[in-house]
Every structure is written in structure tokens, then in C-alpha cells.
Subunit: 248 residues, 2 copies
């Protein structure tokens, strides 16, 4: 039975798993679960993931959720996956776990909360929260500095000094890609001080093309839509919500 | 060269790593880094962990931080560690990764933020924040429900239906132990609705005694100190801060 990947391409960990499968030529079926339509809250999806989050996979009788756990599992069970994604070497593997664990409370928390509270909340039926955005901005800025000064400190182009990407590069870059939906000036303000981070994002894109771009199409479309809405100075939240939800 | 574990026993992930080493008879040296004395912010400790967080380990030339990454590494490199802590079986291992990943954004976030913002902040030189506490409480309550309805759903006494504890049991139970420093009524209010969680905490303690109690001594002392301060109705924050810091 073919691997099933339950995903919403508007979710950054979903995108990481989809790109990973495509780059590694894993034979899988993408089952779209639309968060904006609350499809992740259905009883049907609860059978797949009782936490009602995306992504999740079903591989035969085996069910799994949490994107990092999924990426590790897929790296181990599909023999075609190249070693650099999740090296067999215990020391390299330990360092990748360290990045992935760090990610949860740092980059993910900062980026996701910032984008939600400055931009996406209305599309999810929530109010924008400037105080939460300000706190998330601090976490995001600190995380970007640490990526540059710690994780990208090695000689290679990727995290931990690698010459080829690992699952950590894919997870973190997909997280950062959501900054695309911000106002362009704001996105530049956040990323401009971090030249090495920008180069690393480009290198990770290049290493996973054309799948990276294909899976991110939905995000680029949302970006254009949001830019149009901004330039039309539509500040009415309910209108923004309707227009965004129809796109996502 | 002996494994070095840099830890502050007031930090719950530090306690998990220390208990793990002791239960598995790993020969190690505990290097105490006192967070209340800001020893984790020294240049010396930055050489060990550039993120300036605890715990961290040095094993020969190899340095590692993030407690989950450390627990996995130790399980893999020390042959005396029994399989149940981090099973070689890929499916069991994947499920443990799933619990550990979930933990970061759920139980850890809820419990640590709640305890900080209701109780420990003054000892860290920070103000108490009732709004942050209320938000953390929601995450904590939801996490406890999910532990009971999802992770403890199996037939065994431990997470994922295990008959013996894994590194996930140890990490999550150590996180929950910090609730001990709360006002006793508040701690009961939080845990009382979750009988299976309470039983699982007891089972994990029993499976790791006497090391569990020994490593938690500092927490039990802090609990007594805080209870005394409460019963003396000392509400002055600066006084509480001085008295707590001297204990920790």
C-alpha cells in the first residue's frame, strides 16, 4: 500500500515532508487537508492524527505525526534516501537532533507566531495581536542570529558544516519561507542583516529544485494576493479574511 | 575521558539527563552550572554551549546540547543502556520521536511558562505575568488531557503502551515534576482530573528510584521553602526573590 501524506501546503512542516518525499522519489499519495476549511478538525482526520495537526502519514498500518519524526522515519525506511539527509554516523545524527530540538522553541516559535500575529490571523478567524507579534519578533531575530553564528558556522554551505542538505536544513528553510507572505519591506527588514542565512536559503532551494518551488506555489500565490490587498489599502478584517480564505 | 554533564538540578531537562545517566550506570562527572547565579551566561560556558542553555554534555571532543538529543545520543553510544529507553525497532523509535517533538510545543511550553509566571519569575529577577500564566494554563491543561487520551492510551503502564519507561517518559515526567513548587492546592487542581497521569508519574518514579528522588531533592527543598514563605504571607517580591535565590 502506497505511503499516504496528509498535508496542507500552507503549513510549513507539511511542505518540508512533501518536498522530502518528492526529492527522494518516494512513491506516495498526497492527501490534502485544508486547515482554512477546518478539515483537520473532522472526526475522519482524528483517526489519522488524534492531535489534529498536519502533517501526518499512514504507511501500511503505521500512523505517525510530527514532521521531524516523519522525516526521520522516512529517511530510515526508504533505502533510496541518500545518507546526507539523516546520516548513519551517530555524531552527525546527534547534531541534527540538536538542531531539530532547538528549532521547536526558537525559529518555529518566533516565525510562526510573528507571521500569524502580523498577517495571517484574520484568515484563520483570529484577531491580529501586536503584543504577541512584538514578543515573537524578538524570538525570531534571536533565532536568525543563532542560525548564522552557531548552526551555519561550519565550512560547508548547509547547517552543521554540511556540503549537502539534511532534514534540518529542509525543516528550517521551509519555516523561514512563510516570511514571504509578510509585507515585502518587513520581510527585507528581518532577513537583510543575515546574509549567510539568505545564501543558505538559496542553497537549500537550489538543492531541492524543482520540487521546492512547486510545493511553495501556494505560498507565492498567497503572497501576491496579500500584496494586492495591501496596495488596495483594504484594511477591513472580515473582507481580508474572506479573500484570503478563498485563496488558501 | 569521562563524560561531563553540565546541569542545574533546578532545570527539568537537566534532571532528566542526570537521572538517565545514574539509572543506566553511565560513568560521568556532573558539572553544576547555577542558573540563578547566571553561570550559564559566562564566556566559559559559552564554549560548551553557544546557546547558553542547560543541560549540555562533553564526551571526549564531542559537545552536544538539547536534552532530547543528549538522551538519544547516550542511549546509542553506551552499550549498557537497555533497549526500552530508546528501542532499536524503527516503528517504536519513530513513535518516541513523535512524543518528544510534541512535548516541545505542548507540555513543556505549558508547564514551564505556567510555573514561571505564577511562581518562579521573582527568583529569576522577572515580574509575575498573570496573562501569560493564563495562556500557559490552557496549553498545560490541554497537554495533560492529550497525554491521558493519546500517549497513555495503550495497555502498558508507560507512554505508547510500554511496559518499561523510555526516554520520553523520563523527559515528560521530569517536566511535570516542576508543578511541585506551586501552591499545593493549585498543583492538585491541575493534576487531580488526570488519574492516569498521576499513576504514570508514580510508575516512572518507581522505575527510576532511588535516583529519581535524589536528583529531585533540590526541588523538594525549594517546595518547602516556598510553602513556608506563602504561609508567612510574605508577598513582597524582592524579599521572595532573595530568599528563593539563596536556596537555589
Amino acid at each position: 500500500m502506497k505511503l499516504k501524506v496528509y498535508a496542507d501546503r500552507m503549513s510549513q512542516p507539511s511542505r518540508a515532508v512533501l518536498i522530502f518525499c518528492k526529492v527522494n522519489r518516494i512513491d506516495f499519495e498526497e492527501v490534502r487537508v485544508d486547515i482554512s476549511k477546518r478539515q483537520h478538525l473532522t472526526l475522519e482526520f482524528k483517526e489519522i492524527n488524534p492531535m489534529r495537526k498536519l502533517p501526518a502519514i499512514v504507511d501500511g498500518r503505521f500512523k505517525l505525526f510530527e514532521s521531524h519524526a516523519i522525516l526521520i522515519y522516512l529517511s530510515c525506511v526508504f533505502p533510496g534516501v541518500a545518507d546526507h539527509w539523516y546520516p548513519a554516523d551517530l555524531f552527525k545524527r546527534a547534531k541534527i537532533h540538536s538542531v531539530l530540538d532547538w528549532h521547536h522553541s526558537n525559529l518555529r516559535r518566533g516565525a510562526a507566531e510573528y507571521v500569524k500575529n502580523t498577517t495571517l490571523a484574520p484568515a484563520l478567524g483570529l484577531p491580529l495581536d501586536p503584543q504577541a507579534a512584538a514578543e515573537a519578533e524578538k524570538v525570531l531575530f534571536s533565532s536568525l542570529s543563532k542560525i548564522e553564528s552557531v548552526w551555519l558556522k561550519g565550512s560547508g554551505r548547509f547547517l552543521l558544516g554540511g556540503n549537502q542538505p539534511s532534514i534540518a536544513d529542509l525543516s528550517l528553510v521551509c519555516e523561514l519561507m512563510q516570511l514571504e507572505v509578510l509585507d515585502e519591506k518587513d520581510c527585507s527588514r528581518i532577513l537583510a542583516p543575515h546574509k549567510n542565512v539568505q545564501q543558505w536559503i538559496e542553497d537549500t532551494k537550489n538543492a531541492t529544485r524543482p520540487h521546492f518551488d512547486e510545493v511553495h506555489q501556494i505560498l507565492f500565490k498567497a503572497k501576491v494576493k496579500l500584496q494586492k490587498l495591501r496596495s488596495m489599502s483594504i484594511n477591513n478584517e472580515s473582507s481580508l479574511q474572506t479573500k484570503l480564505a478563498s485563496k488558501m
